[in-house]
């Protein structure tokens, strides 16, 4: 148990240290980085197997008992998120290595690999953190690594984007720290399970204020409307691998933190209405923003914002089915979002840019690539039989099960958002993929075919294909996935299993 819980954090950090020492031997460095991430994947899959039946496992770092020491916890939700994140991180890393081999990237691989591994450790720590301060530390590790990653291959636009990103993230971190201080002042503890027990006796208004504060803190990081302005300005400008992993994981970590804090720590139903309103706004504003974008990456970033709204909608339903649907949605969205950004990276190789205005006939240039784009795009829009359909169907079903005018309004907004997503995706399809290819794209294809880039390019395409396959597997494994999701949802609504696993039997009143 101890080892299973320690590996996702310690192995990437060790790998980062080792790869920092191997700056002069790029092949060795790549090997170490891949090995570290593979170890994390294996470990998290084992972790998922252990916790899939709803058991919660804990490890008390330094052997200090729970409310005092640093607790590391894995329950079905966190281990599912860990496993999916680890797989996506590995595939994106392989994509990046392919790109480096092809010599098609201006990023510095000797800098990229160590920081990427540190980012991995931060993401894993966020999912495993059993106390609020450790969650903060996880966020900081992740964000500090991302500050460095976003300016890889620096250009004027990237430096500008990183300024926005850094300032916004730091603001939310300061609020986070303030929130932790307030919680500590109120309860005298930072352990999540302990807070959950002690907050039960706190005044109702105080709990509401704290819940809202934490919603704002994580909402900034998750890019909920009206705190989303930074995301479409910063994510799309980074290089492909970085924007893929940022879009897939960083916002989802924040969504995970919202789910964890709003279910475990704070009142069960007093904040539902707020969450539903935020969800409606996020879905609609995000997708309307996406409809008017010209740059594919920006379009996808707005679509990302809008689909965060779906997850908040599920959380706002405040039912086991709703939370289960959110869990499925998280898994689906991590894979699909990473996939779409990887395809955009491939498109950039042919077109040299990602502006729809100057793009035509990608279908003819590379049929495989259009296939790789079509599947996740349709999945994002929620067409059957892809994973997006499964997730959305579960979400809407849970919504109908709860009822009420606000929920029905949110449902209507969700359906509208799905339709508008189809429209946004078809805009890319019609403008970018149809028609006679632009001469410079054909030229680029010939150049890539003849040049020494071919092997690396094929590897990149293969990794994108692997990501497509993972998306299909998510759809195919919808049965077992929703089983785990329901167990996770039940655990989240109940909270007893988590609290007792951390603090011991009978701690949860």
């Amino acid at each position: 148990m101890n080892t299973l819980l320690a590996v996702p954090v310690l192995v990437p950090l060790l790998g980062a240290a080792a790869s920092l020492l191997m700056r002069r031997a790029p092949r060795l460095q790549q090997g170490v980085a891949v090995a570290a991430l593979t170890a994390v994947v294996v470990d998290t899959v084992l972790l998922l197997r252990v916790t899939a039946d709803g058991s919660v496992i804990t490890s008390q770092a330094g052997a200090w008992e729970a409310p005092l020491g640093v607790t590391v916890v894995a329950d079905p939700l966190s281990s599912l998120m860990l496993a999916v994140s680890a797989v996506v991180l590995l595939v994106v890393q392989l994509f990046a290595i392919g790109q480096d081999i092809a010599g098609l990237s201006r990023a510095m691989p000797q800098v990229f690999h160590p920081i990427y591994l540190v980012l991995t450790a931060g993401v894993c720590l966020c999912f495993l953190a059993g106390d609020l301060f450790n969650l903060f530390v996880g966020f900081e590790i992740m964000l500090t690594a991302s500050y460095a990653l976003i300016t890889q291959a620096p250009t004027r636009a990237r430096v500008r984007a990183s300024m926005i990103y850094t300032v916004v993230s730091l603001t939310s971190s300061i609020l986070f720290l303030t929130g932790i201080a307030l919680i500590y002042g109120l309860t005298g503890t930072v352990n999540l399970a302990d807070i959950a027990v002690k907050l039960g006796g706190a005044p109702e208004e105080l709990r509401m204020v704290l819940a809202l504060l934490f919603l704002v803190v994580f909402g900034i990081k998750a890019a909920l409307v009206p705190m989303h302005f930074w995301l479409p300005d910063s994510y799309p400008v980074a290089i492909t691998r970085i924007s893929a992993i940022f879009a897939a994981l960083l916002t989802k970590v924040a969504v995970y933190a919202i789910i964890r804090s709003q279910t475990l720590l704070f009142g069960r139903d007093d904040i539902s209405a707020v969450l539903l309103c935020v969800a409606i706004a996020t879905m609609l504003v995000g997708i309307f923003g996406a409809l008017v974008q010209d740059d594919i990456n920006r379009l996808m970033s707005f679509a990302l914002v809008s689909h965060i709204g779906f997850m908040i909608f599920g959380l706002g339903l405040n039912s086991v089915a709703g939370l289960a649907a959110v869990v499925v949605y998280l898994v689906h969205h991590i894979v699909v979002q990473a996939n779409l950004f990887l395809v955009n990276g491939l498109i950039r190789q042919y077109a040299g840019h990602s502006s729809l205005r100057a793009m035509r006939g990608l279908n003819t240039v590379s049929p495989v690539m259009s296939f790789y784009f079509f599947i996740p795009a349709m999945s994002l829009a929620g067409l059957p039989p892809l994973s997006g359909f499964v997730a959305k169907a579960a979400l809407f079903q849970a919504g109908v099960g709860v009822g009420g005018w606000l929920v029905y309004t949110a449902l209507a907004a969700g359906v509208a958002t799905s339709l508008l997503t189809v429209m946004a995706v078809f805009r890319i399809w019609v403008r970018g993929f149809w028609g006679t290819p632009m001469p410079d794209m054909v030229e680029a294809r010939e150049r890539l075919k003849r040049g020494s880039h071919l092997a690396g390019l094929r590897f990149m395409a293969a990794m994108t294909g692997v990501m497509v396959a993972i998306g299909l597997v998510v759809a195919g494994a919808a049965g077992p996935l929703s089983e785990i999701a329901f167990i996770a949802g039940h655990d989240l609504m109940n909270g007893t299993a988590y609290i007792e696993a951390v603090l011991g039997e009978g701690a949860a009143r």
Partner: protein, 213 residues
């Protein structure tokens, strides 16, 4: 930092023709004399900015060893008293920052034991290794083992804790980090400025290329 070869004050071939040659004629020790290879600050340095300050240079020479020793004291005493790896690392890195301010980037490069990247990597290996070691015995990570020696000659009762290794890692990470910051924000810019100045002196064509955004 690739251009920063440590400028040693000792009898390197480049310098033999200069001051050492002159020193020979004035009755200084012969070439094969075992001269000290390292100095705290060489006499032929340009500071990072501003005019040379003898006061600062002398102060840096005097203070650097004391600061480093104090930082190790903080590191060792940090287990159950104020101090620790983070504080110690900050203090130690201040010694190097002082050296940089007094003597410029070449002095800094001559003074640091290894590149900041290496320090960071070594520190991280120590930290993660110490955190992971108890796992091998089936214990939770970060567990501390300690051993108290009661009758050590000269020192008396001394407590050794595995925590010290962890803290040493933190110490190295902090020093490495501060040095990277100095390298990125100070030494790198200084080197670029020097390069541009050199180009300007050598001709207009190079200077125009150097000011490319």
């Amino acid at each position: 930092m690739s251009g920063d070869e440590p400028a040693r004050a000792g009898p390197s071939p480049g310098r033999a023709a200069g001051e050492w040659g002159r020193a020979d004629r004035s009755g200084a020790p012969p070439e094969n004399w075992e001269a000290p290879r390292e100095r705290w600050l060489s006499t032929a340095v340009r500071p990072a900015f501003g005019p040379r300050s003898v006061l600062l240079e002398v102060a840096a020479r005097l203070l650097t060893p004391a600061i480093l020793v104090f930082s190790v004291f903080l590191l060792v005493s940090g287990h159950d008293r104020p101090g620790g790896g983070f504080a110690g690392g900050l203090v130690a890195s201040m010694a190097y920052v002082l050296r940089y301010i007094a003597g410029g980037r070449r002095e800094l490069a001559a003074g640091i034991p290894m590149r900041p990247n290496g320090l960071l990597a070594l520190g991280m290996l120590l930290v993660c290794g110490t955190a992971a070691a108890p796992l091998l015995a089936g214990h939770p990570m970060l567990e501390v083992y300690s051993y108290t020696a009661h009758h050590l000659p000269l020192f008396g009762e001394v407590k050794f804790a595995s925590y010290l290794l962890f803290e040493s890692g933190v110490f190295l990470i902090v020093v490495g980090l501060v040095l990277s910051v100095v390298a990125a924000l100070g030494a790198r810019m200084e080197a670029e400025e020097e390069e541009i100045r050199g180009r300007r002196r050598s001709g207009g064509a190079g200077a125009a290329k150097g000011e490319r955004p």
